[in-house]
Amino acid sequence: MRFPASLAAPVLLLALAVPARADFLLAAGKETALLLNRTPAIFLTDPPGAKTDLKARARAQIEGKTLRVTLSWEDPTEDAVSGSKRAAYGSDPIYRKPTEKTDRFGDAAAMMVPAEKGVRFPGIMMGDPAREVRISLWRAGAEPETLRGRGRGTVEKAPAAAGFSAAQRRSGSRREVAFTIQEFDPELPVAFAIWEGASGDRNGYKWYSPWYLVRP
């Protein structure tokens, strides 16, 4: 049976519109400009999102089974929530560490990976009920955390997660957060999120990337 020529164009368009999996690549050793999207408003009360796009880059390195990704972006403001400094009179034992700002939000960044291999990648918003994700989270002023999630609102500390770490440093006005995963499976993709504390970012208010495959 001959394939009707009139169907060629629709079939091609359909194939382009429904890719089987993400094709974004992070080539090891190269700086890659990340595609970042802004989450839409969740509640009617949500504030409008940022009007200018955040430009971030990622650089992956693979050494044996260890993956290290350095995420960097322009962040002129230093915003931290936890760990406020003791005030000048803090030597008094009855003195309590204060809350200095009630309306301040902290800078943060995260790298997410599927908890295990699968035919489909997990949902980009912290996984989905059928596909768990692991998240390495760095937050200004707080200890890095490893979290797990199965969809929005389900994120919690991953009790037995080992081999994930995150560290941050400044390079002028540019912030760099390095995420490391030991025993990384190269078939798994990674995705990123950045929260700008100065813009009131927290929870769903953030910049997020699609899944990226890391290529040596």
Partner: protein, 334 residues
């Protein structure tokens, strides 16, 4: 909705503004790191800015079942807690006077007793406030992690400190601004209605310590409880800002009888010292009916009759003011 609901009634005619409730709560629950600016219980002078300043117009709550936008108050609206430099002055021999470490410009109860002036007469009253443990909590609705929950067994609204990640959607949503961010702990915190005390059959610290005996505690659905009798039977107590749509479970007996000078014996209905608008803005339009009921009860008592409402409001001892579920038979619906 919870099966049962703890509620509190506060008789504003008896509040002295002494802040004993505030201190009782502060020492018991908010004496830790990051909590200095928090007053789960505060007493503010009305009319006034309140605490945090301008909370009545800071948004939040519901309209047509939808959450309304609200403000996250900055620390300056709560008042920056100040410390005194005692050590330098007293122990280090430095000659500087003992001064607050910031220049204070606002604090809880900053404008105590200022009130307002109406036709040449000053008026004010005290408004003690705690979390309202609402029937439809806006904080619960707004939390994206469902860290805020309402206990089915008694209707008390709590924040799971393990689930909370300090997003402050609850702070924005609460029309009473009774949820506070603890920056040091990285979580939001609020009045817990002294649930550990209730579990032992003891009334809330703010109620138990009140020298004016103005607080009544019990289950709203318990026919024997003072809150049931004041709210549902005698209908002399009203929630704060009922138009916010959250169904508060803290009720107030409004101030009903400060006569204007020279009108001794006249009450709010005849010649109000407190303008009606001041009261309706806080307690809604039903406040006039409540004032009429209270005036009628007062007239009865003044004529030598017996008023169960006034006897109850006197609150002679704990057994009159509190009926804690741990000491009552089970099965009362809230």
């Amino acid at each position: 909705m919870a099966k049962t609901q703890y509620a509190m009634v506060m008789d504003l005619n008896k509040c002295l503004g002494c802040q004993t409730c505030t201190v009782a709560c502060k020492k018991l629950w908010t004496d830790g790191d990051g909590m200095a600016y928090m007053y789960w219980n505060n007493v503010e002078t009305r009319p006034g800015k309140g605490y945090p300043a301008g909370w009545t117009s800071a948004g939040g709550g519901f309209a047509g079942g939808q959450l309304l936008p609200g403000e996250i108050p900055p620390i300056e609206k709560y008042g920056v807690p100040f410390e005194y430099d005692y050590s330098q002055r007293l122990f280090e021999g430095k000659g500087k006077p003992v001064m607050p470490h910031v220049d204070p410009s606002f604090a809880p109860n900053w404008e105590e007793d200022v009130g307002e002036n109406d036709r040449g007469e000053n008026f004010y009253f005290y408004l003690p406030r705690i979390c309202n443990h609402c029937t439809h909590p806006a904080c619960l609705e707004a939390c994206p992690r469902k860290a805020v929950y309402k206990r089915e067994e008694d209707g008390i609204v709590l924040i799971d400190q393990e689930r909370c990640r300090g997003y402050r959607q609850c702070v924005r949503a609460c029309p009473y601004k009774k949820i506070y961010m603890n920056e040091v702990a990285g979580v939001s915190q609020k009045c817990i209605f002294c649930y550990p005390r209730l579990a032992q059959g003891t009334a809330n610290a703010c109620a138990k310590q009140c020298p004016g005996r103005l607080r009544f505690v019990g289950l709203l659905g318990d026919p024997e409880s003072p809150v049931h009798r004041l709210v549902r039977v005698h209908k002399v107590a009203l929630p704060l800002l009922p138009g916010k749509g959250t169904g508060p479970n803290v009720y107030y007996v409004p101030p009903f009888n400060p006569p204007r000078r020279g009108n001794s014996g006249k009450g709010l209905l005849e010649d109000p010292r407190i303008p009606w608008k001041t009261l309706t803005d806080l307690f809604g339009p039903k406040v006039k009916e409540v004032a009429q009921r209270l005036e009628a009860e007062l007239s009865t008592a003044q004529a030598g009759g017996r008023s169960e409402v006034l006897q109850l409001l006197i609150g002679r001892d704990d057994s009159v003011r509190y009926r804690i579920a741990a000491k009552t038979p089970a099965g009362h619906a809230g």
